[in-house]
Subunit: 411 residues, 2 copies
Amino acid sequence: MARLNENYLKLPGSYLFAEIAKRVAVFKSENPHADVISLGIGDVTKPLVLSVVEAIRKAADEMGNEKTFRGYGPEQGYDFLAEKIIRHDYNSRGIELSRDEVFISDGAKSDTANFQEIFGQDNTVAVTDPVYPVYVDSNAMAGRLGDYDSSTGKWTNLVYLPCTADNGFVPALPDKKVDIIYLCYPNNPTGTVLTKEQLKVWVDYARENKAVILFDAAYEAYVTEKDIPHSIYEVEGAKDVAVEFRSFSKIAAFTGTRCAYTVVPKSVVAYTQKGEAVSLNKLWNRRQTTKFNGTPYIVQRGAEAVYSEEGQKQIREVISYYMENAKIIRSGIESLGLSVYGGINAPYIWLKTPAGYDSWQFFDKLLKEAFVVGTPGVGFGPSGQGYLRLTAFGSRENTEKAIERIKNLKF
Amino acid sequence: MARLNENYLKLPGSYLFAEIAKRVAVFKSENPHADVISLGIGDVTKPLVLSVVEAIRKAADEMGNEKTFRGYGPEQGYDFLAEKIIRHDYNSRGIELSRDEVFISDGAKSDTANFQEIFGQDNTVAVTDPVYPVYVDSNAMAGRLGDYDSSTGKWTNLVYLPCTADNGFVPALPDKKVDIIYLCYPNNPTGTVLTKEQLKVWVDYARENKAVILFDAAYEAYVTEKDIPHSIYEVEGAKDVAVEFRSFSKIAAFTGTRCAYTVVPKSVVAYTQKGEAVSLNKLWNRRQTTKFNGTPYIVQRGAEAVYSEEGQKQIREVISYYMENAKIIRSGIESLGLSVYGGINAPYIWLKTPAGYDSWQFFDKLLKEAFVVGTPGVGFGPSGQGYLRLTAFGSRENTEKAIERIKNLKF
């Protein structure tokens, strides 16, 4: 009799964005003429830049010609892209990486979800709270998190690191020893960042405790302040304890085109029961060569074009456009007297709901009175209760219109 | 202390195609003027057909335009492609499927590797032997297969179903009860097929034992004989027990472009410890929505073009070309008096090595005396010993030249 993985049955049923979509659909059906603006889901709206489109077209032509056709590519990605990543994203910041420390993939969602596979069952996992749900769900599916307690919204074996206005969104070191730590900076959903010194506390912790940091830097291109690290490897000692996830989704509109990469320095290790250290690079390479067959050639050529002079100029313009939206959202919310976080080094704005409103109540108020869709903070974890996320990825016109409407709300 | 998944350390070190590449490299360095022809790795050589290239170019243009840009797509793939798959590949054979029973992905390698995740640890897995290594390695990584015994080349908890000339490459039902059965037809590596009646034996077994069949049909487009099923759902009752994997890799040169799909009928179930049946469709949907972010839009548009009238004509020409190669290989090997299998409904030819040669010895003889690279059968499993695989995916010129050289060998 085929048995299922019963950990799947422990996952809470209703998914955040599905619930949002449902409420929006109900509202729209009851108010067919309402001009609803979404500042909710973290998807971009500006198209692929011209350099990328041209590179994909050229690559498609190559694939249609017997002389230049490419079949199976390396599971780890093509050298032409990996070399540009290393030079542009790391060497430029004084970080050295070798070619085989970079793994190109179809997305940071896949990589952050799959990476836990190479760890044993008997690890204690820690996540910041609120958090991108994929880190949690993938570990829950693997059976590492115990049971989900719907009264607290917490998994029994997961260590939550609260990040709220009370601690300035800087997670404190955990009381109990943890082995695997997920950090995402610039942070989704709060839009907050850590300085190099604040990040170093975690690197030092990992070194002392032989823990591993899984660092999601998908939003690094939105960092505008000079002293905020783009990569965890800017922190001394991080190359011995940290894996870094990066993505072209938010920096170059690849959400529907799918390309990302993961850096696994050879010096990062995990241990056998007997205490023997094994390089995670070797294990991840085995995972990828066994279960993945590479990112499409045409997509990798598109990603390569992001690094051309023209490509850089084009994506920088788009990022500036979104960050101008972020400013508009921040100052609009501030003018209401509400507390607002993020939006300076990230495309996400995290606002404290006014007194008397929890996350979903404020979501409903925005939807029903301003026709604006946000994301309830509690959907990202228990410490997100009383917050709401707005994103800067809309058009200027919609962003301005949405903020004008929110400004007219009465609390 | 971060602990690793120690199942990874049990995997045998040297990978088949890496070992082949090493031997070929040594030979070439010692014989720099030898014109080595590879009929080894199962990669295609003909380019994407024109319809596909044009569709990708058009989709790239859409992605560069704000009005037609697409961000995150459905994790299960776009309706435009899924509907064509259902109509063309299933309805045409009298098989009904609903839209949400088809999951589009980046490859059958990923899907066949990842699918085991939704099953519990306590399942007994069976594979035909020889076999595509991904089914075995992905279950070994998950800890379902016990230990690898290098003296036998077998995993202690895996049930092997030998397929050799002795049983006409038709696997017999296992002695002990199994829960998950991997079948691949047309078969990689042997190129053999099962009739509907032979496949029905397995469907009946699965129904009686509440087992699940994971059916890899990546080569179905190469079936030329009328009574050979293209899909397991042509067999009565299969929709209750079988999941089917399909791919655009070998039928439309997508090995480097990455698109595939998996059919999970809602009626296929696995059981909880308490004996409650749960639909695999629901579990796989949860897996994909949590750990995967969809196949690139431009790639799905390329795959859609395969189903246009022009696209079908173009890919059929390529398949016929490869199957003509298969004929040349088959008849060439037969003329040597060797036993040869496959190559009629599949692009793979499986030959019995002459007396006195094991798989690797014959591989070396072909390489050193005919400058031809095959794949040693034993690399696909213990029952592959004494066989060698040749593929029909080369150019006509190289295929003819390789066979002429093999014909001149003395055994």
